[in-house]
């Protein structure tokens, strides 16, 4: 079963949930964690995985042979991303706008365009104890976040629990991370920002037709704003983790909650059983 952990708002505790769930389940289940927050992958800080392979991921971008090009402009006409243009007697390409769709190469009448790989980042795979771990890392200055995330997703194994640590937000990188998961956990905090972004995230997950549940992190006396919204919209709250300065201190040092406070292990196992029941 694939469970995505997303949030809308950043910094609510997605990685905390993904990491602690993985550590809590590993004794009884086969577990994989996919770090799909490829712009800022943080799960490895808590799990210290041993990577045994790292591959470069690239997208195909056009390369123009000036000898064969007759400057007809067909490539610029078919490219809806304006990633290729004819200027005077030159063809210019803009790799940062290219989606790698192959249109220019396909439709060039003189065969002047071939494709060359442009690196967008890396994917490292390995193990953290017995947790299979996959991490995508976007190359700084690349704009192909969603493409790299799709590549990370393709490395999902057929295990009992595949956990996806998603990026913040609600747009294409999050959609690429969450799409076709069996269940989505949305992590929020009891603040007006947390609620605002939770509402956006719920709309997104529902548009993808994925069952969902909410976790309130840094739960405190203001929880009612989240509870009221969830109650009205029929959304189950599956777990609450109270705000404690000590928990914040563990997080600051990169220490997983269940290692410092093992009483949480059972809670995460119960959470998983609950998700299994709900996603059926």
């Amino acid at each position: 079963m694939i469970v995505a952990i997303a949030s809308g708002k950043g910094g609510t505790g997605k990685t905390t949930i993904a990491v602690n769930m993985a550590l809590s389940l590993r004794k009884h289940k086969t577990v994989q964690l996919l770090d799909c927050d490829v712009e800022e992958p943080n799960a490895a800080i808590f799990l210290n995985p041993k990577f045994d392979a790292e591959e470069e991921i690239s997208i195909p971008i056009p390369s123009v042979d000036n000898e064969l090009c007759n400057l007809c402009g067909r490539c610029a006409e078919v490219c809806f991303f304006h990633a290729i243009a004819v200027l005077g007697n030159h063809v210019l390409t803009f790799p940062e706008l290219c989606h790698g769709c192959g249109g220019c190469t396909l439709f060039c009448p003189t065969g002047a365009i071939t494709e060359k790989p442009e690196t967008i980042g890396t994917i490292a795979t390995g193990y953290a104890q017995d947790i299979s771990f996959v991490q995508g890392r976007l190359k700084p200055s690349s704009t192909a976040t969603a493409t790299l995330i799709k590549e990370v997703r393709r490395r999902a194994a057929n295990l009992d629990a595949v956990l996806i640590d998603a990026p913040p937000g609600t747009s294409c990188p999050v959609v690429a991370s969450v799409n076709k998961a069996d269940f989505c956990l949305l992590v929020t905090e009891p603040t007006p920002f947390g609620l605002n972004d939770l509402v956006l995230a719920v709309d997104m997950v529902r548009a993808l037709n994925i069952p969902l549940g909410v976790i309130i992190n840094r739960s405190d006396e203001n929880d009612d704003i989240i509870k009221e919204y969830c109650g009205k919209n029929d959304i189950p709250i599956l777990m609450s983790i109270p705000f404690q300065r000590q928990y914040a201190a563990y997080y600051a040092q990169g220490i997983p909650l269940v290692e410092a406070a093992p009483e949480w292990e059972q809670a995460f196992q119960n959470l998983w059983d609950d998700i299994e029941r709900r996603s059926r």
């Binding site: 991303f81 989606h99 913040p168 294409c172 007006p192």
Partner: protein
């Protein structure tokens, strides 16, 4: 006119609390929310919307089943696996138009996709340009560019010398879009191992831009040890740490009341005032 961008790498470090405070302190400016997927600045600035604009960020392919002869050319050419059973999955479709160009029967059309809205609003602190990306939409970088283009136009109209921008998290296309014309960047970080890791990656990105970069550490007293690690790291990189904001419940209360933390008072508000003084001196002397 100078663009001041507040970003963080890691999400949830306090960008919006800091941005709204700086916006309240700075006179004569336009404000812009460039975090278009999860725009929160409006919650503290209490805007009343004056203008609403539609944003068409992409196109989506549609197959006319009457004309389609099931030749499969489009399915073979689509690199995004977006065509199944001779129908386009709008979630997977990137709008490249390869299917549209390749179809021998003209059965594919490209439809402009309403991807969101952007707004010009009045607030007690001045004009705010903000946006809302549609549900499960793409092209937030393009919407950021649209918001900033409009903010610049407003700044020219009002002869405002500053644009204060609340940036998106991460290092991807919305951040790159927000950085493209920025004059000064303030990175809001927090004393955690994750935040330091994300700061390193963000600095790798900002190094590609000709922009003045400073760092402030939010909630620095939640881990003075990690806070020192960030200061050492920034010192090594030659990036100034221009302020440290203490953990302060007043910030949470200010946000809960929908007002910028600096207007609410408390130790964090004082620290942010000092940060703004340094930024203002720096940008005015450039």
């Amino acid at each position: 006119m100078k663009e001041i961008l507040i970003i963080s790498g890691k999400g949830g470090t306090g960008k919006t609390s800091v941005t709204s405070s700086i916006a309240a302190l700075c006179e004569n400016k336009i404000m812009a929310d460039a975090d278009v997927d999860a725009a929160d600045l409006y919650l503290v600035l209490q805007p009343s919307i004056i203008e609403t604009h539609e944003f068409y960020g992409s196109k989506k392919a549609i197959i006319d089943s009457e004309k389609c002869t099931h030749c499969r050319l489009c399915m073979q050419a689509c690199r995004f696996d977006a065509i199944n059973n001779f129908q386009v999955d709008p979630i997977l479709c990137e709008g490249c138009g390869v299917c549209y160009h390749i179809c021998p029967r003209n059965a594919v059309s490209m439809k402009d996709n309403l991807s969101g809205h952007w707004y010009i609003s009045d607030t007690p602190y001045g004009t705010l340009v903000h946006a809302k990306l549609g549900t499960a939409e793409e092209n937030s970088g393009k919407l950021v560019a649209e918001v900033l283009r409009s903010a610049k136009e407003m700044a020219e109209q009002q002869e405002a010398p500053y644009i204060i921008i609340d940036g998106p998290p991460g290092i991807g296309c919305p951040v790159i879009s927000a950085l493209s014309d920025a004059d000064m960047v303030l990175i809001v970080t927090e004393p955690t191992a994750s935040s330091l890791h994300d700061l390193q990656r963000l600095l790798e990105l900002t190094a590609n831009f000709k922009v003045d970069v400073s760092v402030c550490i939010n909630k620095y007293d939640l881990s003075e040890e990690q806070s020192r690690n960030i200061e050492y790291f920034c010192y090594d990189q030659g990036i100034p740490v221009i302020g440290k904001i203490p953990f302060d419940k007043n910030v949470i209360n200010a946000i809960a009341h929908g007002i910028p933390p600096v207007k609410y008072g408390g130790p964090a508000a004082l620290a942010i005032k000092d940060i703004w003084e340094i930024m203002k001196n720096k940008i005015d002397s450039e």
